[in-house]
Amino acid sequence: MDAQMKRGLIEGCILKLLLRGDSYGYQLVRDAQEVLTLSESTLYPVLRRLENQQALSVYTMEHNGRLRKYYAITDVGRQRIKEFLTEWEAVMKVYDFIRRDEE
């Protein structure tokens, strides 16, 4: 799959997962498995980018004597989810069109 497209899909998934509730790195990797394959090194730049774009916020909490980074969705992130869905409506239209009569 095209690299940029994959990145966009991962961004969308992560934001959706955070919409359900704040989460942390390892949990996101596990939860994303239900939709797409995601490795730690693929997730990291996506989290950074979303942070730079202020689509999510980061905070640290103590957990079992160590520090863990948590991610939370922001209003910008919520808006991004809406934009993602709108953009992909156009993609779905083309998909349906190509698929039609192909069975």
Binding site: Y24, G25, Y26, Q27, V29, S39, E40, S41, T42, Y44, P45, R48, R49, N52, Q53, N64, R66, L67, R68, K69
Partner: protein, 357 residues
């Protein structure tokens, strides 16, 4: 491998990145390993579940490279994915090459130490940026408008409508709109140089204008296009080579130290206040040439089926003159001797050049 060794290796592999970035990555992977161990894995299994250090490092470094190319898109409040901006320190660039297809190129200068390239990426565009040995190249290609290659030479009276029909039927409407064929919106690669640029500039495009103003280039400028105008104003260059076809070349206040060549066909050349310390060659066909206050040591103006008129600096005595036309009037008087050279040739049209003194 232990957690410590893994993190140490990763730290080494990431040297070259900013310390803050490295710390962030190490904390991220440290946390990943810890969480797996908490889930019941042994330290060794948790570390093995990570990707190899080399893989992680190369992904991080290639992301960092990608970020370098699009800083403007990330930092603006409304990132526009379709617009790209590339900045490079001008001191690092010995030669700038812009190669485009069906897209205008516009060169200007600004109070900057950088070369700034701005362009839009739209459906069907392929841009490649190369940097090697001081040569910065931006290459742009785009998919053809139609998938049926129409060969005008193979058209006959019998197949004409069939061929045209096939061509029109295969036109990719999206690409045609992008070309400006329907909406008239024309895209342009914007190039901004420092006020004085020490390197070479080469611009090649097709079917689209090249425009340049206020550029001082201490080396050679090559501006080539086809089927579209070249328009230059307030330019200084060591050497200037402008080529087009089926369109005009318009020059205003242009100075070349060594050589100025402006060549086109089926279009006029207009040169106002254009000076060369050495050679100047203005050549077209089926188009007129109009000069105002031009000056060169060796000036050649050639066309056909078009008039040559205007004013030349200096006195006629300064020039060794060779001129001629057919079926037209020529006000110049040929002369074998002179410090400077003037060659003026056309056909089926008049020559009317005045010397300003």
């Amino acid at each position: 491998m232990t957690r410590e060794v893994f993190l140490k290796d990763l730290n080494c592999a990431l040297s070259g990145l900013e310390a803050e970035e490295v710390d962030s990555i190490l904390a991220y992977y440290s946390e990943m390993i810890d969480d797996r161990m908490e889930a019941g894995m042994t330290e060794e299994d948790a570390v093995n579940a990570m990707e190899p250090v080399d893989t992680i490092a190369s992904r991080v470094l290639s992301e960092a490279e990608g970020e370098k190319d699009a800083p403007a898109a990330e930092q603006k409040n409304e990132p526009n994915e379709a617009e790209k901006e590339i900045r490079r320190p001008a001191s690092e660039v010995k030669e700038l090459v812009i190669s485009a297809e069906n897209q205008r190129v516009h060169l200007t200068s600004g109070d900057t130490e950088e070369i700034v390239l701005r362009y839009r990426i739209e459906d069907g565009d392929i841009y490649q940026l190369h940097e090697e040995n001081g040569v910065l190249t931006l290459e742009h290609k785009h998919r053809p408008v139609s998938s049926y290659k129409l060969d005008p030479k193979k058209l006959t009276a019998d197949n004409f409508f069939d061929e045209i029909g096939k061509f029109i039927g295969s036109i990719n409407l999206g690409n045609l709109i992008q070309l400006g064929g329907i909406t008239g919106e024309t895209r342009c690669i914007e190039v901004m140089l420092p006020r004085i640029f020490k390197g070479k500039v080469t611009v090649k495009t097709s079917n689209a204008r090249i425009m340049a103003e206020e550029v001082t280039c201490l080396d050679e400028m090559k501006l080539h296009t086809s089927n579209a105008r070249a328009m230059l104003s307030h330019i200084v260059a060591h050497q200037l080579n402008i080529v087009s076809s089926n369109a005009r070349i318009v020059l205003e206040d242009v100075y070349a130290r060594q050589q100025l060549d402006a060549v086109t066909s089926n279009g006029r050349i207009v040169a106002t206040k254009v000076v060369s310390d050495n050679g100047m060659h203005l050549r077209t066909s089926n188009g007129s040439v109009r000069v105002e206050e031009v000056d060169a040591k060796a000036l050649a103006i050639k066309t056909s089926n078009g008039s040559i008129s205007g004013t030349v600096k200096g006195r006629s005595e300064d020039y060794a003159i060779r001129s001629g036309t057919s079926n037209g009037k020529n006000n110049l008087v040929d002369c074998a001797e002179g410090e400077k050279q003037l060659v003026v040739k056309t056909s089926n049209a008049n020559i009317a050049l005045e010397f300003m003194g």
